[in-house]
């Protein structure tokens, strides 16, 4: 059977990006050494590329082009003046719960929040906890805070000044407990290297010892494989 040798039946879903992590890895490894499957994938990729054309046409507001022009101009200015002082994190596109967590902490105790640059760890209202992560040589300008609710049910990660990645890669967050890593979500950053994301964990965030961020293939990996850009203890008991 061809499928015993190749991964032909997995290719349509691979082109759509809907395989699970293990299957994605299996297909990617096979493709690296199989011309037959690469040619098959090209045809399915062509189909996937066309699917976006199926949507009904809609137009953004005329104002959007003006906003684009302003942002492009702003980007030019930033290239000549990259240094930025501390800013209150933008909430978009963090989800409502995640946004509320940040807002509560940032608004209620901005001064203490700013001190996180130096303190690494602090507790806030309602038992909320915020941890400053350390960057690595792979992202020397990167900074990040992990914020965890008092009951450990909710948490967010806010990163800034991480390098933008090409479309084939994403950052992936890992929670570490007893030497084992659990994926807590993937993300990419905007032109400022900024992003906020909710931490997705199967167990209470209070049960993990530390958090890592690595560079992984788009869609994420089942275990860390790429270079580490951020890390830090969650200061859990």
């Amino acid at each position: 059977m061809l499928n015993d040798v190749h991964v032909l039946e997995l290719l349509p879903a691979y082109a759509l990006g809907s395989l699970d992590d293990a299957e994605t890895r299996q297909v990617a490894e096979h493709l690296s050494s199989c011309y037959t499957c690469r040619k098959e994938l090209e045809s399915y990729q062509a189909v996937a590329d066309m699917l976006l054309l199926a949507v009904p046409e809609a137009a953004p507001s005329p104002e959007l082009k003006k906003r684009l022009a302003r942002r492009l101009h702003g980007s030019e200015l930033k290239r000549t003046a990259p240094a930025r002082g501390w800013q209150v994190p933008r909430l978009f596109p963090v989800g409502a719960v995640a946004g509320l967590l940040i807002l509560l902490l940032a608004v209620s105790n901005l001064v203490l929040w700013q001190r996180l640059n130096h303190l690494e760890y602090m507790t806030g209202p309602l038992g909320m906890k915020a941890v400053a992560l350390q960057n690595t040589g792979a992202a020397p300008d990167g900074s990040a805070f992990a914020i965890v609710s008092g009951d450990g049910k909710n948490g967010v990660l806010v990163v800034d000044h991480l390098p933008e990645l090409d479309a084939s890669k994403e950052y992936q967050v890992w929670l570490v407990r007893d030497g084992e890593t659990t994926g807590a979500g993937t993300f990419s950053v905007d032109e400022d290297g900024y992003r906020g994301m909710r931490l997705a964990a199967p167990d209470s965030l209070l049960s993990y010892a530390s958090v890592l961020v690595t560079v992984e293939p788009a869609g994420g990996s089942t275990a860390p494989t790429g270079k580490q850009v951020l890390n830090g203890s969650l200061f859990n008991p």
């Binding site: 039946e9 809907s18 040619k39 809609a58 980007s75 905007d190 032109e191």
Partner: protein, 207 residues
């Protein structure tokens, strides 16, 4: 400099060289394509506009990484748009909800009230082809495809969402993609089918 008549690849090269006017020209050409795709994925106009901005700023920042031997500019843009939009869904922990564009829209023709200038003619023809191809799929296959591609769901998530066995979901997606390939790729480019691997494989496998 007037970029209105410039081809896509030239525009990208000019963007890479720092010409903001080239980004605006690219925006004029493709803002509807990007916005429409993002809107279907995120289901909210305000969010879709933010993502559309992000996409064109990403192009401005990343034009140097564009490789015209790997994908056309439109394909590249569409991939960036989908990637950004699905990122938003995942960050928000989003699920299909009342804000989402109804599935029916996935196969309906575009808004006839929108202008269709000559420059958009080829795009319109391709859009119609894809819509007609999708209309040939059974609804359950279209739905599975929609969740996979436009919502970024894994097979397992689709299985849970639709309350269907995992194997059934896998089969639906595979059959849908095979059918679309037959219509959109094989029938349009018959000479390419032999150039492809030419392999056939069973479609009735029980997962």
């Amino acid at each position: 400099m007037d970029f209105e008549k410039a081809d896509d690849v030239y525009l990208i090269k000019q963007i890479a060289a720092g010409q903001t006017a080239a980004v605006e020209a690219l925006y004029d050409r493709y803002n509807r394509l990007v916005f429409s795709a993002v809107l279907v994925i995120v289901g909210d106009r305000a969010v879709a506009e933010e993502v559309t901005l992000d996409v064109f700023v990403h192009v401005w920042r990343g034009a140097k990484t564009y490789d015209d031997t790997r994908a056309g500019v439109r394909t590249w843009l569409a991939a960036i748009a989908r990637h950004h939009a699905i990122d938003i869904l995942r960050w928000q922990g989003s699920r299909v909800d009342s804000r989402s564009v109804p599935l029916d829209d996935f196969s309906l023709a575009g808004d006839p009230n929108l202008p269709d200038p000559e420059a958009q003619a080829e795009l319109s023809i391709q859009r119609r082809r894809v819509q007609q191809a999708l209309a040939q799929l059974p609804e359950e296959q279209r739905l599975a495809l929609f969740l996979a591609y436009f919502k970024g769901f894994s097979h397992q998530q689709i299985s849970e969402q639709l309350r269907q066995p995992l194997g059934t979901v896998k089969t639906r997606i595979r059959l849908a993609m095979q059918k679309l390939r037959q219509i959109l790729v094989d029938e349009q480019q018959p000479s390419n089918t032999s150039e492809r691997s030419g392999v056939t494989y069973p479609t009735n496998r029980k997962d």
